[in-house]
């Protein structure tokens, strides 16, 4: 089934899981900006950051190897540009691209593996993101699984009707069939949205989602924000001083 591994990890419990989402978002942004703007001593700095992230993954009891592999999703993109840079006679450029994109992805993965998405979205809302957009995001995430199950069933049905190598000759027909399937999926999604809206109204919805439990920013969250934000900054200063 489509159980996303990070979603499962996010339901774990560790001191990192318990931190306020806003504290983690601030720390992530500081991390990403410190990394994005680094030039001098990037390999050393990156190594330090990597150690920091792995330590955090261990602390959060997130499977380290699984996380390291997942973050590799950015590597094909980096590989393309490494090759392109090499062809343009700037072979050295590919390395920082790969390092920066990989570590950034790993840092985001750490956030989403220790914070369930609904809680993260609520944190973002209290940081000023438009609640309408976040509500849409929450519904999108909720129904992604439902709709993709339907899509997969339709794909399966198409395959059962006989998809084979010689069918490329029937490409035009299959193209139309796929378009028809998408139109049906669209119509079903549309009808489902209407059903959901009815179910909301039936339970007294009046236009605004009310949160059951707000997020509470505690003193320890402040401490966490300070430490987690200062760590990459201190590391970068240390690396640049050592090289100067």
């Amino acid at each position: 089934m489509h159980r996303l591994a990070p979603e499962r990890w996010a339901r774990g419990s560790s001191p990192l899981h318990r931190r306020d989402p806003r504290a983690k978002v601030v720390a992530l942004l500081v991390f990403l900006i410190a990394l994005a703007t680094a030039h001098r001593g990037l390999p050393q700095f990156a190594l330090g950051l990597f150690v920091l992230l792995v330590a955090a993954l261990l602390w959060a009891r997130v499977p380290v190897w699984g996380a390291l592999v997942r973050a590799g999703i950015v590597l094909p993109f980096s590989a393309v540009f490494a090759v392109v840079s090499w062809m343009a006679g700037d072979a050295a450029r590919g390395v920082p691209l790969a390092i920066k994109s990989y570590l950034s992805a790993l840092a985001v993965l750490l956030l989403i593996s220790t914070t369930p998405l609904p809680i993260l979205l609520r944190g973002l809302e209290s940081m000023g993101a438009p609640h309408f957009l976040l509500d849409v995001g929450q519904f999108l995430y909720r129904y992604f699984f439902v709709i993709s199950d339907e899509a997969q069933r339709m794909n399966g049905a198409a395959a059962a009707r006989g998809a084979s190598a010689r069918q490329w000759r029937l490409g035009g027909q299959r193209f139309q069939a796929a378009a028809g399937a998408l139109a049906v999926l669209f119509a079903r999604s549309y009808a489902r949205a209407e059903d959901i809206h009815r179910a909301m109204l039936a339970r007294g919805f009046e236009g605004r989602f009310l949160a059951l439990s707000g997020v509470r920013f505690q003193r320890i969250d402040l401490l966490f924000t300070a430490v987690a934000s200062l760590a990459p900054l201190a590391l970068r200063i240390a690396v640049e001083r050592a090289l100067a």
Binding site: L140, S148, A179
Partner: protein, 284 residues
């Protein structure tokens, strides 16, 4: 094309984040006003639809398939502002949950795909959607949305100092054109099927047009095209592009170009394989 973090120069991502934030707030307000009351579930579920639509493969050639990107289709069915909101929500979820696209680069990706891509895709439909050229406008809208998004992304990367030989650049533009045509064809086919299956969801542009929206969209189209040319390394890059006339097709250039094409084909194949594998792992 979701740009990850680490590729864009700081001034580029910072500017685009600063530009995308108010644009998203504005489009969000506009979307809230333009729809009737069931808007959150509708936009959320259709966002999930666009996500899931990527699982339905369209045959392109022997053994090759493509899939819908969806920005233009949403604009034709929901209207441009709600479509932008849905695409922005998709990009945010992709960046957060799937690490597909960066967080600092989210402003850039939203600008390219959710704001300017959607508006550019809506433009032909806005102008010709109610006339006898409706079919053409559906096709052109789908194609334009992808072309504009891709060109903008490329321009941003070039501005950020990612070097690209002219041969690769022209091959990329050719690939963009192919995916644009594919998106146009899929969008048109799905819209025609939708007109039969669920006619009430399909929009027909009304006579009272918003000149601001059309203006913004038109600017986006121009920016994207001009941007790539400019970004190709300033006057130097433009000169190189202009030099691509037949007279300069010497042996050296041909060798360079064929290496470039071969390289891109190999990488493209590798990405397909990795994408398949990653796609399987994603749904563990």
């Amino acid at each position: 094309m979701h740009i990850p973090d680490g590729f864009l120069a700081t001034p580029v991502w910072a500017t685009l984040d600063a530009a995308a934030a108010p644009a998203v707030v504005y489009l969000t307000r506009r979307a809230q006003r333009s729809l009737e009351e069931n808007k959150v579930p509708l936009l959320g579920v259709l966002g999930a639809f666009v996500f899931a639509a990527q699982m339905i493969n369209f045959p392109v050639g022997p053994g090759t398939t493509g899939h819908l990107v969806g920005g233009a289709l949403l604009a034709f069915t929901l209207g441009p502002a709600p479509a932008s909101v849905v695409m922005a929500a998709i990009l945010a979820i992709q960046a957060l949950v799937f690490q597909d696209g960066g967080i600092l680069a989210l402003g850039a990706n939203i600008t390219n795909m959710a704001v300017l891509g959607v508006l550019a895709g809506y433009l032909p439909f806005h102008i010709w959607g109610g006339t006898k050229w409706r079919k053409l406008s559906l096709f052109a809208g789908g194609a334009l949305s992808v072309l504009v998004s891709a060109c903008l992304a490329l321009a941003e990367l070039l501005v950020s100092g990612v070097k690209m030989p002219p041969s690769v650049l022209s091959v990329s533009l050719a690939l963009f054109t192919v995916s644009a045509i594919l998106e146009g064809a899929i969008t048109l086919a799905v819209m025609q099927a939708l007109e039969r299956v669920q006619p009430k969801t399909v929009h027909y542009p009304q006579p009272n047009r918003s000149p601001i929206l059309a203006g913004v969209a038109l600017t986006a189209v121009l920016l994207a095209t001009v941007g790539v040319l400019f970004a190709a390394g300033g006057p130097d890059g433009i000169e190189k592009l202009l030099n691509l006339h037949p007279a300069s097709l010497d042996a050296n250039f041909l060798r360079q170009a064929s290496t470039g094409i071969l390289g891109l084909v190999l990488i493209y194949g590798a990405c397909l394989v990795i994408g398949r594998v990653a796609g399987r792992h994603r749904s563990l």
